[in-house]
C-alpha cells in the first residue's frame, strides 16, 4: 500500500559525502541534465505523434494550432468578462477550491473512521462490508444525491469530491493503524502510556506515512473527478471550461485545458509526496 521511499535524497547525501565536493556537484548537475534531456525527449515524441495523428485526422487540432491558444490562455489567466468568459486561472482556482474543501471534509471523516476501524476489530467487522460496497461506486453517481441534499450544483460537486476522497484515505489509515507492530503496542502498555500519549506518540506517528499515502491517492482521484463533476454541474471550474470549449467547438482550448489539468495534478501529487518523505521514518 505504501510507496517505497525513493532513495534520491540518500543518493544526494552520499554524493555530498564524497571528498571532492566540486566533483559531486558536477555529478549531480550531469544527472539533472540527463533527466531534463530524457523528459524533453519524451514530450518531443508526444508532440510528434500528436502532429502525425492531427495530419491524418483533420478534426483534431495539431500542436501548431493548439500551442498558441495555450499560450494566450496562460498569458491572461485571470480576466473576467462575465459568467461565460473567465480566464483559465479563475476556473482552475474554482476547481482547486472545490477539490480542497471536498478533500478536507472527506479526510476529516475518513481519518477518524479509518483509525477506529484499524484499532477495533468489531468496528472493522461492522464497517468494512459497507466500505467495500460503496467504494467501487463512481463518485459521480453520488452527484444527484448531493443535488437533492444541497439544491446547488457547486455544493453537489463538493459532495461528490467528499465521497471520492473518503475511500483511499479511510482504507490506508485503517491498514496503517491495524499494522501497528505488537512491539510498539507493548512499549505503550509496559510504560503505561495514556490514551493521548498512545495516540500522539505511537499510533499516529506510526500510521502517518500510510495515512498520507491515502491522502495523496484521494487528492489525485479528486482532481480527476472534479473535471467530470464540473462538466455535469456547469457554471465554473476547469471541467466546465473543458465542456464549454467543446460546445464552442474549440478543440485547441480543450487540449490546452487537458495539459493544464495534467500539470496541476502533477504538482499536487509531488507536493504530497514531498510531505510523505518528510514524515517517514526509518525503523
Amino acid at each position: 500500500m505504501i510507496t517505497a521511499k525513493p532513495n534520491r535524497l540518500q543518493m544526494q547525501l552520499n554524493a555530498l559525502a564524497l571528498p571532492f565536493k566540486g566533483e559531486a556537484v558536477i555529478k549531480q548537475l550531469k544527472a539533472a541534465a540527463r533527466n531534463v534531456f530524457w523528459a524533453s525527449a519524451g514530450f518531443a515524441l508526444l508532440l510528434v505523434i500528436w502532429q502525425i495523428v492531427a495530419i491524418f485526422s483533420p478534426d483534431l487540432s495539431g500542436p501548431a494550432e493548439t500551442l498558441p491558444v495555450l499560450w494566450a490562455m496562460l498569458s491572461h489567466p485571470f480576466y473576467d468578462n462575465g459568467p461565460n468568459d473567465k480566464g483559465i486561472g479563475i476556473q482552475v482556482l474554482f476547481s482547486l477550491g472545490r477539490v480542497f474543501s471536498g478533500w478536507l471534509i472527506g479526510s476529516l471523516i475518513a481519518i477518524p473512521v479509518g483509525m477506529a476501524m484499524g484499532a477495533n476489530r468489531k468496528v472493522m467487522q461492522a464497517l468494512n462490508p459497507v466500505v467495500q460496497v460503496l467504494r467501487p461506486v463512481s463518485p459521480l453517481a453520488w452527484y444527484p444525491i448531493g443535488l437533492a441534499a444541497y439544491h446547488s450544483a457547486a455544493s453537489a460537486v463538493v459532495f461528490a469530491i467528499v465521497i471520492t476522497s473518503l475511500w483511499p484515505t479511510l482504507i490506508n489509515t485503517m491498514f496503517g493503524v491495524a499494522s501497528l507492530p505488537n512491539d510498539y503496542r507493548n512499549v505503550a502498555r509496559v510504560f503505561r502510556f495514556s490514551r493521548w500519549q498512545y495516540l500522539t506518540k505511537v499510533l499516529l506517528p506510526y500510521s502517518l506515512p500510510y495515512l498520507l499515502t491515502g491522502l495523496r491517492l484521494s487528492l489525485g482521484i479528486a482532481w480527476m473527478v472534479i473535471v467530470a463533476a464540473e462538466m455535469l454541474a456547469g457554471g465554473t471550474g476547469i471541467g466546465f471550461f473543458v465542456w464549454d470549449s467543446w460546445n464552442a467547438l474549440s478543440l485547441p482550448r480543450v487540449i490546452s485545458a487537458i495539459l493544464i489539468i495534467g500539470l496541476i495534478g502533477l504538482v499536487l501529487d509531488r507536493g504530497l509526496e514531498w510531505l510523505i518523505q518528510r514524515v517517514s521514518y526509518t525503523a
Binding site: 512491539d183 510498539y184 507493548n186 512499549v187 502498555r189 509496559v190 510504560f191 503505561r192 502510556f193 495514556s194 500519549q197 506518540k201 505511537v202 506517528p205 506510526y206 521514518y281 526509518t282 525503523a283
Partner: protein, 277 residues
C-alpha cells in the same frame, strides 16, 4: 536504603514474586498447544534470576506473563502479594529487539516513559531524570539522535535507560544482549551490574537468556527450562559466587567451572533438542 522498613521474607510466605502452578496454552489451527505447565517459582526481593533454555522453551512467554503482557491460562503470579493482571510501573521491561519508537529522539523515547509513569512530577524534574539516566548509560551527547542513527548496543542502552528511569521494583530483561556482538555484550553486562548497584529502587531482576556465561555472571539463581512444548522448570541452580564479581578472576574459580559444566550438561544432553538447536 531503609532496610528496617523493608518487608522481610516472612511477610511473603510465597515469596516476593510468586509464580504458582502457571499454565500457558495457545490456540493454534492444529489445536491447543501447551507452551508452559506447572511453573512454580518464588523469587526473593533483591534476587537476580535468569531463565535459560533452548528456543521455544517458553522462557520469553513466562517473562511476558510476569510483565502482564500475556495472560496466563491457569495458575497465578503475585508480586508483593498482589496478583498480576496487567503491565504496571512496578515492572520495567527491556525488550529483546530494543522496541524504541523510531520517530522519537533518544531523549523523547525515555521521556515519554517517565512522563507516562510520573503524571504529576514537575516537567523540569522529568527532564532531569531523563538526562540523568541517559548520562548513566553514556548517551548524553546522543540524546537528539533518532534510534536509527545508533548502533545496536547504543539502542539497547537507551532501552535500559528507559526501563530504569521509571524506577521499577522489578526489572524484566528479555534476552537483552542477545542481538549484540560479544564485546558490546560484555560491556553492557557490566553496565547493567553498575546500574543495579547504583540504583536503589530496582532490586529484583528476571532475565531471559540463552547465554550460559551471562547467566552465571549476573544471576543469583539460574532457572533451567525443559524443552517446549509443555516446557516447565527443569532445575534451579544456585550461583553462590559473592559480589562484586569480576569476570576475569571468575573464570578460574571452581564454582564457575562447576556451574558451567552442570548447565552445559543440562542444555546439551538432558534437554538436547537435536539438529536445529
Amino acid at each position: 536504603m531503609i532496610n528496617n522498613l523493608m518487608p522481610t521474607s516472612a511477610t511473603y510466605p510465597n515469596g516476593y514474586l510468586s509464580i504458582r502452578n502457571v499454565v500457558k496454552t495457545f490456540d493454534t489451527p492444529a489445536g491447543q498447544m501447551i507452551a508452559l505447565r506447572d511453573i512454580n517459582l518464588d523469587v526473593k526481593r533483591g534476587e537476580f534470576i535468569s531463565f535459560i533454555g533452548h528456543s521455544g522453551c517458553g522462557k520469553s512467554t513466562l517473562l511476558n506473563i510476569i510483565a502482564g503482557l500475556l495472560p496466563q491460562t491457569g495458575g497465578q503470579v503475585t508480586l508483593d502479594g498482589k496478583p498480576i493482571t496487567g503491565p504496571g510501573p512496578d515492572r520495567g521491561v527491556v525488550f529483546q529487539n530494543y522496541s524504541l519508537l523510531p520517530w522519537l529522539s533518544v531523549k523523547d523515547n525515555v521521556f515519554e516513559a517517565v512522563d507516562a509513569v510520573y503524571r504529576i512530577m514537575p516537567y523540569p524534574e522529568k527532564q532531569a531524570r531523563v538526562d540523568d539516566f541517559l548520562g548513566k548509560v553514556g548517551l548524553a551527547e546522543h540524546r537528539h539522535k533518532r534510534p536509527n542513527q545508533l548502533s545496536g548496543g547504543m539502542k539497547q542502552r537507551v532501552a535500559i535507560a528507559r526501563a530504569f528511569a521509571i524506577h521499577p521494583e522489578v526489572m524484566l530483561l528479555d534476552e537483552p544482549f542477545g542481538a549484540l556482538d560479544a564485546l558490546t555484550r560484555n560491556s553492557l553486562q557490566e553496565e547493567l551490574v553498575q546500574m543495579l548497584a547504583g540504583d536503589n529502587q530496582t532490586e529484583t531482576v528476571i532475565m531471559v537468556t540463552h547465554d550460559i556465561d551471562e547467566a552465571i555472571y549476573l544471576s543469583d539463581r539460574i532457572v533451567v527450562m525443559t524443552n517446549g512444548p509443555e516446557a516447565t522448570i527443569g532445575e534451579i541452580i544456585e550461583v553462590n559466587i559473592p559480589r562484586p564479581r569480576h569476570k576475569q578472576t571468575l573464570l578460574h574459580t571452581p564454582q564457575w567451572t562447576e556451574i558451567k559444566e552442570r548447565l552445559l550438561y543440562l542444555l546439551t544432553e538432558a534437554y538436547f533438542v537435536g539438529r536445529d538447536a
